[in-house]
């Protein structure tokens, strides 16, 4: 693991954060930090402790042990001030059904005590037209509710957005729009703490990722770094004599069938490519390293891993 511990200037720090519900250990000795301007993925299957962590950071839950800060403020004593500077999207958000979408957004931003400086842009990108916002929330589909949830969390341009399963219920087009919003926020220096059980989206948008299992932090790493240390599957076909891969570092699991070879490659690609470069090479496939592989390693033998693959 890397980047552990709570350095000064971090947006979120947690030191030995522990939360027990009676005999259930929802979070165990969790230590992590989130840096300014990054998209931080908090990855784990349902019930791993992701929401517990978020709720503890926002003061909904009181830690059993340990300390944490958000934007330099103590979660135990400065919870109200923290929530004034954060945008939060709860998992499976519920809204006031009797209000229209616009009234719900107005009400929530009034309570936030900030101007909805980003609302217009967010509504446009998430395709929430005026006509839709005039309808009552009770008439909204699940995806539309989720979009209102995203807008209410970000409309006041918070320094830190804490988003619990933000793409839940969004169609692929809107997921794509959402990823674009996240990337723009990052480019503007905002920080996003983003919990998910969808590996592909974490891999796609996050700079760093924490993997949590049964309340324990299993990994905390740059996504690129994590992927660079994964094995890639390689497959090649040739005419004539098989290429000699004996001197290639990181090559393993070699299976040759006729004029086809399958293997795994860990580490740099260049030595491998040099070794196979020959006019007899007919076809080559190098599959990109996937977060799924890393995740499954931490969840080996766990039923939850099946849930995450989907």
């Amino acid at each position: 693991m890397s980047a552990m511990g709570a350095g000064p200037g971090q947006v979120i720090t947690a030191q030995g954060l522990t939360k027990h519900y009676g005999n259930v250990r929802a979070l165990v000795d969790l230590t992590l930090d989130v840096r300014p301007g990054e998209i931080f993925g908090f990855l784990g299957p349902n019930g791993a402790g992701k929401s517990t962590m978020i709720r503890t950071l926002l003061g909904f839950l009181h830690p059993t042990r340990g300390t944490a800060t958000v934007l330099g403020l103590d979660i135990s004593t400065d919870s109200v001030e923290i929530r004034g500077r954060v945008g939060y999207l709860p998992g499976g958000i519920a809204l006031y059904d009797s209000l229209s979408g616009r009234d719900a957004l107005d009400y929530l931003v009034d309570l936030q005590g900030r101007e909805p400086v980003r609302r217009e842009e967010l509504c446009e990108r998430l395709q929430m037209a005026d006509g839709v916002l005039k309808r009552r929330v009770r008439d909204y589909s699940r995806g539309m509710r989720q979009k209102i949830g995203v807008i209410q969390a970000l409309q006041h341009d918070p320094e830190l957005a804490i988003l619990d399963e933000p793409t839940e219920g969004l169609d692929p087009l809107m997921q794509h729009a959402f990823y674009g919003i996240m990337e723009d926020l990052r480019a503007q220096g905002r920080t996003i703490f983003f919990s998910s059980h969808i590996l592909s989206e974490v891999e796609r948008v996050c700079d760093r990722v924490a993997i949590i299992r049964a309340g324990h932090l299993m990994a905390l790493q740059d996504v690129d770094e994590l992927l660079a240390r994964r094995k890639r599957k390689v497959q090649l076909r040739w005419r004539g004599a098989a290429p000699d891969l004996s001197g290639v570092p990181g090559i393993a699991d070699v299976v040759i069938k006729g004029d086809e070879m399958r293997a795994t490659l860990l580490g740099e690609v260049a030595p491998f490519v040099r070794a196979i470069a020959s006019p007899s090479l007919e076809d080559l496939t190098i599959e990109p390293a996937r977060l799924e592989e890393a995740f499954l390693e931490y969840y080996a033998g766990d039923e939850a891993s099946e849930e995450m693959r989907g």
């Binding site: 519900y21 929401s51 009400y107 936030q112």
Partner: protein, 267 residues
Amino acid sequence: MNPRLFLQTLRWNQFKLLAVAAAAIGWGLLLPIIYTSFSDAFRQLVNSGTIPKQLLSFGSGNFFTLPGALTIGLEHPLTIAFMGIFAVGSSVAAVAGERERGTLEVLLARPISRRTLYRTVAAALIVLLAVVMAALLGGQAIGIALQGLGDQINLAYMPLVFLNGLMLWTAFAAFGLAASVSFDRTAPALGLTMAYLLVNYFLEILGSLWTDVAWSQQYSLFHHFQPGEILTGKADPLDFVILAVAIAIPVMFAVIVFPRRDLAAPS
């Protein structure tokens, strides 16, 4: 207190409040009319021995004097229903209802402390109860004027009756709100608050109908709401003190317990 939350809480209840206040005015108006039309007939019934006097002495009131008749009206099940809509229904739904619907999440994601939320909701509930109590007493005052009964009662005592009644129902609302902040679902909070209200009501009515257990009334909060006594200039300060204590205990419980509670993710 959060002004935006306060106004929105009142707004959620505005149509309910209008309907209940209108009904309360109507009910209040009816009581002096009932008294004018039937008090002599009731007196004759009792004197003839046809029905026992206790049956016409419901709660702390009676049908033989105007203050007594007004008291019956203010302790009548209909009044319990009017006031209970807010003192029980709205108080219980205030936090546990939001929690059950999942909207408490969104609310507390704002820079609002749980104590501020509690104070704001409590203030809104007091306003709602005050409006209904004022409607009841206003209806009674109009009825008294229409029936020409102004000489039988000193309306200058009405503000004290209002305060006494508001304290009674605030005590039930405070209990409901304490239950509301303690549970994740409305059902147990509602059950507990209804039980509290009904036990109090039962003790009051039982003591008034069955003289052998008249002592039971002392243990009912309803017995410390004495419009009849107040309207005849015999208000007992102890009634106000007891109601103040009945308000203070659940308030203290709520402001201590609510901020310390864990609010786990809604299931």
